[in-house]
């Protein structure tokens, strides 16, 4: 921290946390898929994705395997909306946000470019 100075112990912990966040910001492991084993050195593993819940059809991908399970969770919105029956809350692409998917050519690669929309 260059401009603000942490004074008490909690502030130092916040600074250390922010430093750690910044150092790992570009790691490919910032979002962990269901099939990825827990990353013990960086804390507990919270798996994200639909198949955590038992709902027929969602323990496997659309080919009956596990390779294409919805993951990471950020991709779910998009994938649910494009390729699955499940309705998902996505921006209105007809009227207000026609360019929402403009930068997301391939969801698996570009999902980070999908942004939130504020009215």
């Amino acid at each position: 921290m260059k401009r603000l100075k942490p004074i008490n112990q909690k502030a130092s912990r916040i600074e250390a946390f922010l430093k750690h966040e910044a150092a790992t910001a570009n790691d490919d492991l910032d979002v962990v898929g269901l099939r990825t084993p827990p990353h013990e050195e960086s804390g507990p593993h919270f798996p994200l994705g639909c198949s955590l819940q038992f709902s027929p059809g969602w323990e496997v991908d659309n080919r009956g395997g596990t390779a294409g399970l919805c993951q990471p969770v950020e991709r779910d919105i998009f994938d649910c909306h494009i390729s699955c029956f499940w309705p998902a809350h996505v921006p209105d692409q007809l009227n207000h946000s026609p360019d929402w998917t403009g930068k997301c050519a391939a969801a698996q690669k570009d999902w980070r470019k999908l942004d939130l929309i504020f009215p």
Partner: protein
């Protein structure tokens, strides 16, 4: 953090985004500005640019462009942007629609270790203090004719020690406090319990420490020697100089206690040198000359530490402190606090423990889910072995959560922890002092509102003002004598 384009409802896009102030409490010391972050309780010192940004946002949210434009005469753009980024990271500023930060609504783990057990070795007392919460008008337990025996038996005390050692889990240390009634009325059991606890703790490879609270009337040379030899921490309940002490702290026949306790306390302080002897003062409407009380107890009697607490009672009692008197009490607390700071700046000890305790919490940055450790890391045991939230509730069926022989009823304990969590105290959610106050004492709330989970709203203004004072002291030390604060590092 995403910094991409934002689209609004009308389809217009703008590369700029708005920022607004978030939840914190600002305070100053020696001209420097600090932020006490809520709810994290981290404290950050602002530089000129940080202060200017906060001032500019005081009137309401601004777009980043407008903000940097406003500051461009005083600070170069890089510096402003860097400071903005850091303020955003510590969550002092953020998007105007950013959700309010709340501490996680998590319950502590079920095997949370017991750290301190308060053993009510007797509920009998040789005094009849008017304001007593055990025998006075606000008592919640029938101490006179209730089901609890007057004295704790040796067996129950030993069972309690076993309970403490077991419940302390993997913690290497445990602490046992003896309480009453008047603790020394059951001195034989006290002595045996200390010996037993020491032996059993050694067998379990734990260290155990002891303390007790007494009204000092029953101190004798051999008892004082035993307390010193056994390294027992002693707190004396005493209210001040003779007219103050004799006003409400009286024997059953109404006679004042000052002349009886004076020589005993002097002997205790002279003999027991291994641990500082503390005085615990109950403040009432009858005597609120706090400075006089403090000086008497430290300068004339020789107490090393003095802690003062307003009486717990309902508003209509004649000794209940009125709102006006609370203001005067606060002013006097502030005067003593300023004195504490002067001492700390010179690396000297000052005995006003109300400041010491708060500074320690501020230094660590505690952000509490509960007002205190009662029902969790601290439990009280009644004379029959019933386990309650704390010593003030010992024997109250409503607040009993187990027995030393059968252990804690985890369901009851969990319900208590759910009901008393800060997340349930909606009154507190807008208050910046909630990390350190968390709604306050359960017993105080029970007496005032008939509900231990109620936030102590009658003390809100007081707590905020006092916390602000302690934050200023902390800031002053951080500016002028930061080394002093290292003593609170552990």
């Amino acid at each position: 953090m995403t910094t991409s384009m934002v689209t609004n409802a009308s389809g217009r896009t703008s590369a700029d985004s708005f920022v607004a102030l978030r939840d914190f409490h600002a305070f100053e010391a020696f001209g420097a500005r600090f932020l006490y972050m809520v709810p994290s309780a981290g404290i950050f010192r602002m530089d000129d640019c940080g202060s200017a940004i906060l001032d500019a946002l005081e009137a309401g949210p601004l777009s980043k462009n407008d903000l940097t434009e406003k500051l461009q005469e005083s600070f170069d753009l890089d510096r402003t942007l860097e400071t903005l980024e850091e303020l955003n990271e510590i969550r002092a500023i953020g998007r105007p629609d950013a959700p309010k930060e709340e501490a996680p609504n998590d319950l502590p783990p079920a095997d949370f270790p017991l750290n301190t057990m308060v053993l009510n070795v007797t509920n009998k007392c040789n005094l009849a203090c008017t304001y007593c919460y055990e025998y006075g008008e606000d008592k919640i337990i029938d101490t006179q004719y209730g089901k609890q025996p007057k004295f704790m038996s040796e067996d129950t005390a030993e069972e309690s020690v076993e309970f403490l050692l077991k419940q302390s889990g993997t913690q290497p240390r445990a602490h046992l406090t003896f309480f009453g009634g008047e603790t020394l009325l059951n001195f034989p059991v006290l002595q045996k319990t200390v010996a037993y606890a020491r032996r059993r703790a050694a067998e379990e490879r734990k260290t155990i420490s002891f303390s007790l609270t007494t009204n000092a009337t029953l101190l004798k040379p051999e008892i004082i020697q035993w307390l010193a030899d056994n390294d027992i921490g002693v707190t004396v309940s005493i209210d001040g100089p003779k007219p103050v002490q004799d006003g409400l702290r009286v024997f059953h026949n109404g006679r004042g206690t000052y002349d009886v306790v004076l020589p005993k306390i002097k002997e205790l302080i002279a003999t027991h040198r291994s641990r500082p002897i503390g005085a615990r003062v109950t403040l009432t409407q009858k005597h609120l000359n706090i400075l006089e009380i403090y000086r008497h107890l430290t300068d004339e009697l020789g107490f090393r530490e003095v802690g003062l607490a307003p009486v717990t009672t309902q508003d209509h009692r004649d000794y209940a402190i009125t709102p006006e008197s609370k203001d005067s009490m606060l002013e006097q607390f502030k005067e003593l606090a300023a004195e504490w700071l002067e001492h700390a700046l010179r690396d000297e000890h000052h005995g006003f423990t109300n400041v010491t305790d708060t500074i320690e919490e501020i230094h660590k940055g505690v952000s509490k889910a509960y007002g205190c450790g009662a029902g969790l890391g601290l439990l009280g045991v009644a004379t029959d072995g019933d386990v309650s939230l704390c010593h003030r509730f010992a024997g109250s069926p409503e607040h009993t959560i187990g027995t030393v022989s059968d252990g804690v009823d985890r369901k009851k304990q969990e319900q208590f922890l759910v009901d008393h969590h800060i997340a349930e105290k909606t009154d507190c959610h807008k208050c910046w002092a909630r990390p350190i106050c968390s709604g306050g004492c359960y017993h105080e709330a029970h007496v005032q509102y008939g509900d231990s989970s109620h936030a102590n709203l009658h003390y809100c203004t007081w707590v905020r003002s006092w916390t602000h004072t302690c934050l200023e002291i902390y800031g002053a030390l951080a500016e002028r004598n930061p080394k002093f604060l290292e003593r609170y590092d552990a």
